[in-house]
């Protein structure tokens, strides 16, 4: 596949690009004049999105060498092209085509970075001590510590073993959701549902115990 990169895309004639936006779906859907050009431009768009995403995660990616990083970007862009072409019929024009396409490049790159960073790491599913809290005033620290302690106890009392494993891995040990999904043989969607249900149980328990206000739809006020 031809590989036009970001700068080449940026240098393209804006009028031509504006016109192309209108025709993206048609040009990509059927062979004919402009099809190959549209494919090359789609790949360039998705390379840009993948490169952008990897740059956004740069703080996490020094552990990934430059060569591997570039491979990852190219791989994510290629996979995103396949995803975009497979989903073309679902594009309804509720956003610009470029915004719609970018999200596939960002998703594929982000997932691949997370997987790469955790490829040789154990996913901690055991119970390990948390680092000490850093806080503000002594009163706020004491209140927060009390709430944190109550949440810790509630995790043991009201969550199932599966819910405990998932919420602690995701929110305490910071295991990326895609990595945890891979290790547990499930999906991001399913894990987020587990997390959502567990949060509901914790909130209900802590509300009845007086740690949370009975009606609170905007957040947590311990």
């Amino acid at each position: 596949m031809a590989a036009l990169d970001g700068p080449e895309l940026a240098d393209a004639d804006p009028l031509r690009m504006a016109g192309l936006r209108e025709d993206w779906v048609e040009l990509l859907s059927s062979p004919g004049p402009g099809h190959e050009d549209a494919l090359a431009r789609l790949h360039a768009l998705l390379l840009r999105a993948a490169r952008h995403q990897v740059a956004q995660m740069l703080a996490q990616t020094p552990a990934i060498g430059e060569v591997r990083r570039e491979e990852l970007i190219q791989q994510a862009a290629d996979e995103a092209v396949v995803s975009v072409l497979g989903k073309l019929s679902s594009f309804e024009g509720r956003s610009q085509f470029t915004t719609w396409a970018y999200k596939f490049g960002i998703l594929h790159a982000a997932v691949e970075v997370r997987r790469t960073l955790w490829r040789h790491r154990e996913v901690p599913l055991e119970f390990l001590p948390e680092p000490a809290a850093v806080g503000s005033s002594p009163e706020q620290l004491a209140e927060a510590a009390d709430f944190s302690h109550a949440v810790g106890i509630a995790i043991d009392q009201v969550l199932t073993a599966h819910q405990r494993r998932v919420v602690l891995a995701l929110l305490v040990d910071d295991v990326p959701i895609d990595v945890l999904a891979d290790r547990l043989g499930t999906t991001r969607n399913a894990l987020y549902k587990t997390l959502h249900d567990a949060r509901g149980r914790l909130r209900a328990h802590l509300t009845s115990a007086g740690y949370l206000a009975p009606v609170n739809t905007k957040g947590v006020n311990p």
């Binding site: 509720r94 620290l141 927060a144 944190s148 106890i153 995790i155 959701i177 991001r188 987020y192 957040g219």
Partner: protein, 90 residues
């Protein structure tokens, strides 16, 4: 579980008890994220509370949503700051 409970940081306790309502799945968030980001940048995102709740409650979707907003803002030549603040505030 029979073992002792874990001591949590205040930040972890807040993440664990976040009220991420109304419910939205990661797949549905992905379906709508392009439209939502453009609306946030245009300050016309009211009426999509489930998107805000999901992006606050799901670290991966939140990270990808912020990244998409930055990329689109760069394309449009606009300052992403207000959009990022609206994304965080809902």
């Amino acid at each position: 579980m029979n073992g002792p409970h874990r001591e949590l940081t205040p930040e972890a306790a807040l993440r664990l008890t976040l009220a991420a309502e109304p419910w939205l799945s990661c797949d549905d968030c992905f379906e709508q994220i392009d439209e939502y980001v453009e609306r946030v940048l245009a300050d016309q995102h009211m009426g999509m509370p489930a998107m805000h709740a999901h992006l606050a409650g799901c670290g991966a979707c939140g990270e990808e949503g912020r990244s998409l907003l930055l990329l689109v803002a760069e394309d449009e030549g606009i300052d992403p700051g207000p959009g990022l603040r609206r994304l965080a505030a809902g």
